[in-house]
């Protein structure tokens, strides 16, 4: 069976054709990440989650954060719930861990700027 996908691993957005029976053989990719993406997307799709948390004492009221790795698509809204519970205080450095090992995924939520 051939599955058609658009690779979202980078903004090139290659159109992939994946032969599921032939060990997820990929055509249409411009680099190897497309091959990895295709297999993962068809077996266990994952995404980086980005959002903001409340910050006290910063120049703005929100600090942008991201997961420092991809989490299962099914967990995105649960990760958002965790992020929305957090409040931090300035100063924060870009990369500081905001939530360690969120939902036991081995992934941290980290600050994506200094403030």
């Amino acid at each position: 069976m051939i599955e058609k996908l658009i690779c979202i691993a980078c903004p090139m957005g290659c159109h992939l054709e994946v032969d599921v029976e032939d060990d997820y053989r990929v055509e249409g990719n411009q680099c190897n990440r497309g091959v990895l993406y295709a297999k993962k997307e068809l077996t266990n799709p994952t995404r980086i989650v980005t959002s903001t948390v409340v910050i006290k004492g910063g120049i703005y009221r929100r600090l942008p954060v991201k997961t420092n790795g991809e989490v299962s698509k099914k967990l995105i809204f649960k990760v958002m719930e965790e992020i929305n519970k957090v409040e931090v205080s300035s100063p924060i450095k870009c990369g500081d861990v905001i939530i360690k090992n969120v939902l036991n995924t081995n992934i941290d939520v980290v600050a994506s700027r200094s403030m």
């Binding site: 658009i6 690779c7 979202i8 980078c10 903004p11 957005g13 159109h15 249409g28 995404r47 980086i48 989650v49 980005t50 959002s51 903001t52 409340v54 120049i59 703005y60 009221r61 929100r62 942008p64 991201k66 698509k73 995105i76 809204f77 958002m80 870009c94 994506s112 700027r113 200094s114």
Partner: protein
């Protein structure tokens, strides 16, 4: 009057990259003027990931990408002024700006870099019948409210236009608990990157209505409902109306390079890009005034902005070192069948540094096509492309061998393979 070697107007990714390159090449008196309270530009509100894969070989968020450049800028000791709005640029390269500490100031520069970015088309510039109640705003302002101030503008949202900011906001507002009912795009294809359709709409089952537009906005003081209709060649088809109860309509109907300063200075703009007409050195029709980034043409990828701005920076240095040959050996780069625009629009062969990047956009979607590049009528090269779409900027490279012999004009067209 204070004198600088170079004044950069705008401290977004374009201005930062250009200033850094200029300083690295040994020019000392560089000043960045930025009207906001921080350097970084639009990147600061783009908290999603997807930046920097080319430049840093990793996927960063907008603020992270900006911070790397700002850090470098601080280390290099480049002068910048925040909360400083440039109010006038003159052809003699004097610049007028204002801020709270200094009041109104006039300075002069040997070279100027335009890096003012772009602005969003708003409801005034598109024609939707019906009222103009509150609750109708651009996707970019909603993004700023949410990501910088933590204020969610609405709970039931519809988005007009499939530009990237709208798509990104569809996902962002969904994650924050809003219900995004759909996105309508008047054209038969999306205005945003494919990856954003996948990861912002498809991931959250948000419908994209292609060839649809908003035909009515209902609500007295606040928007209550909208009606969308299918269109045939921009004309609404009766009987295809769908009504949505909403509290917010976001507009993501396009970005326009911010060139009011440039126009008043007498800089010639391209009708298609709405940015300055530039040559191979990113120089405008006024000698010593250069342009890069979204002020020149709207980019979808910050990495291209950075690359372009570094090149513009190197040209500025060549100009200051009197290495840009003023003698006219100019050819045009002309869009033909299927091509919406090309950049640069002109090449002075005496000043050309190869390999040279040419950016382009097509004017509709193509499958299995070729970009055909010719010198006059003689084909120089053909580049095969499986997909070409207006939302995706293409880049090709001209090398020395492509530019030998008698150069007439470079024509670029799209041919569909049969």
């Amino acid at each position: 009057m204070k004198q600088y070697d170079v004044v950069v107007i705008g401290g977004g990714s374009a201005g930062l990259a250009a200033a850094l390159e200029i300083k690295k090449q040994g020019i000392d008196h560089v000043l960045i003027l930025e009207r906001d309270a921080e350097l970084g530009g639009i990147l600061l509100q783009c908290i999603h990931n997807g930046f920097g894969l080319k430049v840093f070989k990793e996927e960063l968020t907008g603020p992270e990408y900006a911070e790397r450049f700002v850090q470098e800028l601080l280390e290099m000791g480049i002068e910048y002024k925040l909360n400083s709005m440039v109010t006038k640029l003159n052809p003699d390269k004097t610049i007028e700006y204002a801020n709270v500490n200094e009041g109104f100031v006039k300075i002069s520069a040997r070279a100027v870099v335009l890096a003012m970015g772009c602005y969003e088309r708003n409801s005034g510039s598109i024609s939707i019948p019906g009222n103009r109640p509150s609750g109708v705003l651009t996707a970019g302002s909603a993004q700023k409210y949410l990501n910088i101030d933590g204020y969610l503008v609405g709970k039931r949202v519809f988005i007009l236009g499939s530009g990237d900011i709208g798509l990104i906001m569809a996902r962002r507002m969904t994650l924050e608990g809003a219900k995004v009912l759909g996105v309508a795009e008047v054209l038969p294809f999306s205005g945003g990157l494919k990856r954003n359709i996948v990861q912002c709409l498809d991931d959250y089952d948000i419908p994209l209505y292609l060839s649809h537009t908003v035909t009515d906005i209902i609500g007295e003081s606040k928007v209550e409902k909208i009606v969308i209709s299918q269109v045939d060649n921009f004309v609404p088809i009766p009987g295809t109306e769908k009504t949505f109860e909403i509290d917010t309509l976001l507009l993501s109907v396009g970005l326009v390079p911010e060139n009011s300063l440039s126009e008043r200075c007498g800089i010639i703009l391209d009708k298609k890009t709405k940015g300055p007409v530039v040559n191979e050195s990113y120089q405008t029709n006024i000698e010593g005034i250069f342009a890069c980034g979204n002020v020149l043409h709207v980019h979808d990828l910050v990495d291209f902005v950075t690359e372009e701005s570094r090149k513009a920076g190197r040209s500025v240095v060549r100009y200051l070192n009197h290495e840009l040959n003023a003698t006219n050996n100019m050819i045009n780069v002309l869009p033909k069948n299927g091509v919406s625009y090309l950049l640069p629009q002109e090449i002075n062969l005496s000043n050309l540094v190869t390999p040279m990047d040419i950016f382009m956009r097509v004017n509709k979607e193509f499958k299995n096509a070729e970009i055909v590049i010719s010198n006059g009528d003689t084909v120089i090269k053909r580049i095969k492309k499986k997909h070409l779409a207006p939302a995706e900027m293409e880049k090709f490279i001209l090398k020395d061998v492509d530019l030998t012999g008698d150069m007439i004009d470079i024509n670029v067209a799209i041919e569909v393979q049969s």
